[in-house]
């Protein structure tokens, strides 16, 4: 990593490793904010007729919890690894477009700050603090989100914030596709790519195809709210169901955008710690690609209660059930990877196995609502809340933690403490099952989701209390993780190049890697270059010092300035001030113009 110090060196950095770390710390901060929102939600629901927060505040809390976790925590935590690890895994010195990469990060940061500013800026809109945060759910269903039913600035923050974040994801998506396709080291054929890089590639294709759909959906809603168009207005002959189709056409690929990177992490972690190659590498890769393709044909399973008719319901039930097949294949291949191995129970392996164990539950409950008749009793109830948390928490978050414990030494040069790590794992594992398993039953007993209160006679009070206790146990486990991060800064064991005996390229260079990553770009002759296989011995790691000087591009202010134009632009409709729009556009254009003509030298 670059040795330059000082704030300016971080603000102008185009080093993928620094940007990866920026993504990590920012996403972690948002993860904590989303977690605190979850704790308020659970405290409110700990007993019937909860009185901790008002209905309005609760609606803002669950909207921001979902929006924050999906767009500001899980996606960017994944992005942190794309940034840091993909160039290292393919033997590249940086991503294809380093300044675009910086731009993606700054847009993400500003979008996240813009959304969260809504908690505090109520007084600017003649409302109290905690009054104007988005309150229409992370799914923002029209026509509730139309101006007529949501007159305040709450939904404005949401639509504008998501539009900003979409730009970040799209820019990063194109960047990583080009990087993975074009920047591979000699000999790094597609079928030699580490599975994490493969799943990153699939994820980026989903991002660049899914985000335009929500961009259009949001643009319609923005036009409806600000310019009086009628894209979702029933009285004008339109239908609010259009929003649902657009949203879920994005929303279901989004689910796989969140889970595929975690599957990639697990596919890299398991072989390392069982000392065996991934079982059925081509099948694992193809099933990942297949899951990505199939994710486009299942969106209406979010809409079985809409009444699309028995034919449509049957078709979408079938496509949804089919997606269980490649998913099941992956799980069997992971178990077969462990089978016959020499399994070392590191914290990273704990989390990877936790991913498999919990994701199975989320997958199976998914099959129960792939069937439309049973879904009619489950959709919009707590049963579905249980399902998505087994997928996103049990799946994505466990997978990402496996990645954190696995790659932290590479990213910082220090090993995380294993005892604290395993304590973290077990508390989180028990906590999540206490928090989310009872929700299956809570939903089946008739409690809808997104309710700030429930009647005592539903008979779900004690189950909810258990769930709340579980949520606080998760909070405790995250606290231990933070302690681990903090202690590691100064007291962590220094990491050698390869603390785990990994097979992939990132372990062939120092921890953390030098700014140029590889002193000599390696030539790849096998899928597991650092291991002995039938045909090859292990590769020779690049020398510690580069044999000849390496040109590394310098930093740039312009991505930051261009990115800053976007929240300023968004401020214009929010405050109904024209000159702000010109200011935002000017910043954006200035940034892009100077960036385009900047000599990109050391």
């Amino acid at each position: 990593m670059s040795d330059a110090r000082g704030l300016a060196s971080w603000l102008t950095t185009t080093d993928h490793k620094r940007i990866g770390l920026l993504y990590f710390w920012t996403a972690l901060a948002f993860f904590l904010i989303g977690g605190i929102e979850a704790l308020f939600i659970r405290a409110q629901l700990a007993q019937p007729n909860g009185r901790l927060v008002s209905a309005e505040t609760y609606n803002q809390l669950f909207t921001m919890h979902g929006t924050t976790m999906i767009f500001l925590a899980l996606m960017p935590l994944g992005a942190s690894f794309f940034n840091y690890m993909v160039p290292l895994q393919i033997g590249a010195r940086d991503v294809a477009f380093p300044r675009l990469n910086a731009f993606s990060y700054w847009v993400f940061l500003f979008g996240g700050l813009f959304l969260n500013a809504s908690w505090f800026v109520g007084p600017l809109f003649h409302a109290g603090i905690l009054n104007v945060a988005p309150n229409g759910g992370w799914f923002g269903y029209a026509n509730l989100t139309e101006r007529q039913y949501s007159p305040g600035p709450n939904i404005d923050f949401w639509v504008l914030g998501l539009q900003i974040l979409g730009i970040s994801s799209l820019a990063a998506g194109f960047n990583f596709i080009v990087t993975i396709l074009n920047m591979r080291a000699p000999g790094m054929k597609m079928m030699r790519l580490p599975v994490f890089t493969w799943m990153t590639l699939v994820t980026q294709f989903l991002i660049i195809t899914a985000f335009p759909v929500i961009t259009v959906g949001l643009a319609f809603l923005i036009f409806d709210r600000f310019f009086g168009t009628h894209f979702y207005v029933r009285e004008a002959g339109a239908t609010p169901i259009l929003w649902q189709h657009l949203f879920w056409l994005f929303g279901h690929p989004e689910v796989y955008i969140l889970i595929l990177p975690a599957m990639g992490v697990v596919s890299d972690v398991l072989p390392t710690f069982s000392r065996k190659p991934l079982f059925g590498y081509p099948v694992v890769v193809y099933s990942g690609v297949l899951i990505g393709l199939m994710s486009w044909g299942v969106w209406s399973h979010h809409m079985f209660a809409v009444g699309l008719g028995p034919i449509a319901d049957s078709v979408f039930a079938a496509t949804t059930m089919l997606i269980a097949v490649p998913t099941g294949v992956k799980i069997f291949n992971w178990i077969a990877t462990l089978w016959g191995g020499d399994i070392r129970g590191t914290t990273a392996l704990h989390f990877a196995v936790g991913f498999i164990a919990m994701f199975i539950i989320g997958g199976l409950s998914g099959v129960t609502h792939a069937s439309p008749p049973t879904d009619l009793q489950q959709t919009d109830s707590y049963y579905v809340v249980a399902h998505i948390h087994y997928v996103f928490f049990g799946g994505t978050i466990f997978g990402l933690f496996a990645g954190i414990y696995y790659w932290w030494p590479k990213m910082t040069g220090r090993l995380l403490d294993e005892t604290l790590g395993k304590t973290h794992f077990w508390l989180q594992f028990i906590g999540m099952n206490l928090a989310f398993f009872p929700m299956h039953l809570i939903g089946l007993l008739g409690m809808p989701r997104r309710v700030y209160t429930y009647a005592p006679e539903l008979g779900v009070g004690s189950l909810n209390l258990v769930s709340t206790l579980g949520a606080f146990l998760i909070a405790l486990s995250i606290l231990i993780f933070l302690v681990n991060l903090w202690r590691t800064r100064t007291r962590g064991r220094p990491a050698p190049n390869d603390p785990w005996g990994g097979a992939t390229l990132e372990w062939s260079i120092p921890s953390p890697p030098p700014v140029y990553n590889f002193s000599v770009i390696p030539t790849i002759t096998s899928r597991l270059p650092r291991w002995t296989t039938e045909r090859h011995g292990p590769m020779r790691d690049p020398p510690a010092t580069p044999p000849e000087p390496i040109h590394v591009p310098g930093g740039s202010w312009w991505p930051l300035i261009a990115a800053f134009g976007l929240p300023v632009l968004a401020l214009a409709p929010l405050t109904h001030t024209l000159w702000v729009a010109f200011a935002g556009a000017a910043l954006l254009l200035l940034g892009v113009y100077r960036w385009a003509f900047e000599p990109f030298e050391v």
């Binding site: 209905a55 309005e56 609606n59 269903y141 509730l144 039913y149 239908t239 609010p240 069982s274 000392r275 065996k276 190659p277 079982f279 059925g280 590498y281 099948v283 209660a305 809409v306 009444g307 028995p310 039930a317 059930m321 089919l322 097949v325 099941g328 294949v329 069997f332 291949n333 178990i335 077969a336 462990l338 016959g340 020499d342 399994i343 129970g345 196995v353 199975i360 199976l364 409950s365 129960t368 792939a370 069937s371 439309p372 008749p373 049973t374 009619l376 009793q377 959709t379 919009d380 089946l444 007993l445 008739g446 809808p448 997104r450 429930y454 009647a455 005592p456 006679e457 008979g459 291991w531």
Partner: protein, 338 residues
């Protein structure tokens, strides 16, 4: 001062709990696991079926995972593992196995989709269900009967619900009688069922619909055939006329000159259509869409300041406020409307 308000609130809540506990049928009035109609039973059978397949798969795969972890855990001196890269036959097998199980799930699924698609026989009792922020309008077109928040249906007779919305998207869900359907403005969704046990069940809006989504509840009463007939006859009668000189009569006068008439219908008294029809409000057991018991105390606080009891409620605080005596008179009048 604050503490008195709080205690007052608490006193309002306690009888609510007591009433609802005793009033509703059984301990889990809103459970999907206690089906009480053919529709609910069909989905329950299907769910049970899928559940056992899922439980079987869960057991097999998780056991396999745990056994693998224990059997192949690291031990000193273990020989380096054999680098197996795959096994084509095995991989084909575990692709086909889940696919085969899914066939066993998909076939009954499609059969149930068509069996529960919402079409009822021609002689079914028709009910139009219209979602409003945040209450349910219920119209029986064949009986020319309009009520709110308490759905009465006869035992054993086919019922056809036609569900739509007057404002945003809601979802009608009465779990013991079957699955939910969205109430969408401009669309009509149908549910058909035949209730098979007399009882008093719970239901609730299931699609997030704004501030008081959590407070958009309803009661579903399955009556015996004669009981339903009696209820319908009573509902079809004109509103009770309060006896001269009673406080209820004064209440009628206050009602007739207050803002109430802008939104509520009482047959022959006021024609408003924005809020629930009150012609027989005294016969209902709850107010505010299943939130509170229909008693004098709750009615009085509701009339005085509805949004304080139900966040966002569109029934605004009376301005200028009604006097306590006027409120008491209206309460007496509404309670007389059996």
């Amino acid at each position: 001062m604050r503490i008195f308000v709080a205690v007052g609130r608490l006193r309002l809540w306690l009888p609510t709990a007591a009433l609802v506990m005793s009033g509703c049928g059984g301990p889990f009035p809103q459970s999907t696991l206690l089906p009480r109609s053919d529709f609910a039973r069909a989905t329950d059978v299907l769910f049970t079926d899928i559940f056992w397949w899922a439980a079987g798969v869960f057991l097999v795969v998780e056991t396999l995972l745990v056994v693998t972890l224990i059997r192949f855990r690291h031990r000193e001196g273990r020989a380096a593992p054999k680098p197996t890269h795959g096994h084509t036959l095995l991989e084909i097998a575990w692709t086909l196995a889940p696919a085969a199980i899914l066939v066993f799930v998909a076939v009954p699924t499609v059969r149930t989709i068509f069996a529960t698609s919402g079409e009822a026989p021609a002689d079914a009792l028709k009910v139009d269900v219209i979602g409003h922020q945040w209450w349910w309008e219920l119209r029986y077109p064949d009986l020319a009967l309009v009520t709110a928040n308490e759905l009465h249906v006869p035992l054993g007779r086919a019922v056809q619900l036609s569900i739509t919305s007057a404002d945003v998207i809601h979802a009608f869900w009465a779990p013991p009688l079957g699955g939910k359907r969205d109430a969408i403005p401009g669309h009509v969704n149908q549910i058909a069922f035949r209730a098979d046990r007399v009882g008093d069940y719970g239901g609730q809006c299931a699609e997030f619909c704004g501030a008081s989504h959590a407070n958009m509840r309803l009661r579903v009463v399955v009556d015996s055939d004669s009981g339903f007939g009696r209820w319908a006859t009573e509902q079809l009668e004109g509103p009770a006329a309060p006896a001269p000189g009673t406080i209820a009569e004064r209440g009628k006068a206050v009602y007739a000159r207050s803002a109430c008439i802008g939104c509520h219908t009482i047959q022959g008294v006021s024609p408003g259509v924005i809020g629930p029809n009150l012609t027989h409000v005294g016969s209902r057991t709850t107010i505010a869409s299943g939130l509170f018991p229909n008693d004098s105390a709750h009615l009085a606080s509701w009339i005085a300041d509805a949004p304080a009891l139900k966040p966002g409620a569109l029934m605004m605080r009376m301005k200028p406020p009604l006097s306590d005596a006027d409120i008491a008179a209206i309460v007496a009048y509404l309670e007389s409307l059996k």
